[in-house]
């Protein structure tokens, strides 16, 4: 029962409603019709709104029906379905490190950080930037130097990193940290462990300097902070976790009550620096000091900085599908102090 006016596809909305109600569900519209074929924008909009309202109504009706059925069944009702979240759908990563694994323990015991973890070397960090840094980056570097004990900030006079690295090794530095700047804002970090260690390249975002922090405490003192590393549980996570841990001296000075946290969640590493105080046995108060920033690993290269000819242990590949390659670094809690 179609009344076609003048051979065009236009018709009045009210007429169409009547047609909808009167006709069978099978023949509501000619099969190839869709709302987008109406040329008139207002009418098309109205049709679409109606379509959405219909859908919403149907959905509500379905929900009510299900709820009624559920109540009717009472105890015998099937259990409620759990909604799918990214955390639920995550595939178990087979590279998660088992703490008792001997092979991995041997690998870590003899890798590039073993001299630090065996207590033989103390960290000495060189912080620098890309060439001609602007105010924000300079202040960021200065604040980083207060957070990391035994850190020195140097102005990068346009020197090539490959030439800086052997000079640092000669002066017993253990780390080179290069903060890259783009449009007056720090956006990258190259962390190179010195004698022959891995080089990690991170993307830095959300940098908040001390001035911008709300309710912050006073300046951090010279005491070495404690280090908390959260969720670095896969093999790659372990390497990165050790990279961060080796920045700070091995024995933290608990007198200072300062703690630096690297929290890894969904492949983003959040850095926070706090001062804590125990009010009584169960309550702790914390004050955030110091800069905060987030990091995302872009590549981990074996050997000192050599982006052209170095061998990469891990490279972030953007083209692979997000769901399968997500969360390369985390699984459960893995604390290291």
């Amino acid at each position: 029962m179609w009344s076609v006016e003048g051979g065009t596809e236009e018709f009045q909305p009210e007429q169409e409603e009547k047609m909808e109600k009167s006709e069978q569900a099978a023949a509501a519209f000619p099969p190839s019709f869709s709302v987008s074929e109406i040329k008139n924008k207002q009418r098309r909009h109205l049709m679409f709104m109606k379509f959405k309202q219909e859908k919403r109504k149907q959905k509500l009706q379905l929900k009510k029906k299900k709820k009624k059925e559920r109540e009717a069944l009472g105890d015998k009702a099937p259990p409620k379905e759990v909604p799918k979240t990214i955390e639920n759908q995550r595939v178990y990563d087979e590279t998660t490190v088992n703490p008792e694994d001997e092979e991995v323990a041997f690998d870590e015991g003899t890798d590039e950080f073993c001299s630090y973890f065996n207590g033989l070397t103390n960290p000495k960090v060189l912080i620098t930037t890309s060439d001609r840094p602007r105010g924000r980056t300079v202040r960021f570097c200065e604040q980083l130097a207060t957070v990391i004990p035994n850190a020195y900030v140097y102005y990068r006079r346009g020197l090539a990193l490959k030439r800086v690295v052997p000079q640092c090794i000669a002066r017993n530095f253990t780390y080179v940290m290069v903060v890259n700047e783009d449009r007056k804002v720090p956006n990258g970090l190259v962390l190179c462990h010195l004698p022959d260690g891995p080089t990690a390249h991170f993307k830095v975002s959300s940098v908040r300097l001390r001035k911008e922090m709300k309710r912050r405490g006073k300046e951090p003192t010279e005491h070495s902070p404690e280090v908390i590393l959260n969720n670095f549980s896969t093999r790659l996570g372990h390497s990165i976790g050790r990279l961060f841990a080796a920045l700070f001296p091995q024995d933290p000075q608990f007198v200072g009550r300062q703690v630096a946290t690297f929290h890894n969640q969904r492949d983003f590493i959040f850095f926070r620096f706090h001062r804590y105080i125990f009010k009584n046995e169960k309550k702790v108060g914390i004050q955030e000091l110091g800069p905060r920033f987030t990091l995302k690993l872009r590549s981990l290269q074996k050997g000192t900085f050599d982006s052209k000819f170095g061998e990469y242990e891990w490279v972030l590949k953007v083209s692979l599908s997000a769901v399968t390659v997500f969360f390369k670094m985390q699984e459960e809690l893995c604390c290291l102090i």
């Binding site: 590279t95 041997f106 061998e311 990469y312 242990e313 490279v315």
Partner: protein, 374 residues
């Protein structure tokens, strides 16, 4: 121990000194270690088959020893001292008929060792900074070496004074500057005399010793990163190359075009090999995974996590999926003493679920039969 080693179809050497065998049909990886005490000195740098029957593996380590591993017994049978660690790591191991061993180290010294003596029978110097040495599968006494600023040289071990073929560097570029060259891996093309090499400046060259031209006959460029590993397919016209970023590509040698890429590897490629008979290629690298791709549709077939960085790999010639040594499988149930900590491995693979569809078909058949009866 011998049962597990007989099952393995892929052998890999790791940086921690452990020889790993992977059995794809049983989806398991096994570790074989010489001593109970691991050390970085034992880092495996070169692997090769000890004999054509593939019952023995020769494992070359950083400290200059070459160990023989028997796949029948599943343990290391002997150790030989083949050079100083000061010379550099092994860059190639090969076996000549008559149980002679050819070894090449990074400083360029190529030595031929006989079974009994501790002194090399033949010694020659292949230049400095040799990155790789490979033996020709057709003529076992011909070996090729190449390295950083050290072009491809083909040596005949029976007349070791001069190389049979020395490659010339490429022509100077458009600024008349000398082109640097760095040969990282090479392979002999079966059927002809040609040799294909891959360089650290992301080029793949084909050399033809029989032609008067000492420069490469064919040059192909791929990617922007140094190519570290190379392998020829069984057919001989396609080559698989891998670079430091984990990109693996199939290149066609007739025209020099990229046929396709194999996805999945995230770390630098250290070892690549095509299976001698089946169209599959295995890759291993710094990301601690063994990946097996099929060459026809370039899909990932198997992925095995092995906990250390892998340096080199070897295929055994038999079929990958073949469950060899089934009789021994029942005896494997006894625990091996040191190895129970090492067992693992699930294989990631998508198998078409045929069972459900078969059941459905049966149900449908039954229904139709019932209807007919009724």
């Amino acid at each position: 121990m011998g049962d597990t080693s007989r099952l393995c179809s892929v052998w890999l050497g790791s940086e921690t000194g452990i020889l790993k065998g992977v059995s794809l049909s049983r989806k398991q990886a096994f570790n074989f270690c010489n001593t109970s005490h691991l050390s970085r000195d034992q880092e495996v740098r070169a692997l090769c088959w000890g004999d054509p029957a593939e019952s023995e593996l020769l494992v070359g380590s950083v400290d200059g020893t070459v160990k023989t591993f028997s796949t029948e017994k599943g343990s290391f049978t002997e150790t030989r001292r083949c050079g100083d660690p000061a010379d550099g790591c092994f860059t190639g191991l090969a076996v000549l008929r008559g149980s002679a061993l050819v070894s090449c180290v990074e400083c360029g010294t190529l030595r031929v060792w006989k079974e009994d003596s501790s002194e090399p029978v033949t010694e020659l110097s292949a230049g400095k900074n040799v990155c790789r040495m490979r033996q020709s599968p057709v003529h076992p006494h011909k070996v090729a070496t190449g390295g950083k600023e050290n072009g491809l040289k083909i040596w005949d071990l029976e007349s070791p004074e001069k190389p049979v073929f020395t490659a010339k560097n490429l022509r100077d570029d458009w600024l008349d500057l000398r082109r640097p060259h760095w040969v990282r891996d090479m392979a002999f093309i079966p059927g002809t005399d040609k040799v294909v090499t891959c360089t650290g400046y992301h080029q793949v060259h084909v050399f033809d010793p029989s032609s008067p031209q000492r420069r490469p006959v064919l040059e192909v460029e791929y990617g922007e990163y140094p190519l570290t590993a190379l392998s020829l397919t069984a057919s001989g016209d396609t080559v698989v190359v891998g670079n430091t970023h984990g990109q693996i590509a199939l290149l066609d040698l007739r025209k020099g075009l990229v046929r396709g890429c194999l996805k999945g590897l995230v770390g630098g490629v250290r070892g690549l090999q095509c299976h001698p008979s089946q169209p599959v290629v295995a890759s291993c690298g710094l990301d601690r995974f063994l990946r097996i791709h099929s060459l026809e549709d370039r899909k990932l077939q198997h992925k095995v996590y092995l906990k250390s960085r892998l340096n080199c790999l070897l295929f055994s010639s038999r079929d990958l999926e073949e469950p060899a040594g089934e009789g021994g499988a029942q005896e494997v149930k006894e625990e091996e003493e040191g190895d129970e900590v090492w067992d693992s491995m699930e294989r990631v693979e998508e198998k078409p679920k045929r069972k459900t569809t078969e059941e459905e078909e049966e149900l449908q058949k039954k229904k139709s039969k019932k209807k007919k009866k009724n």
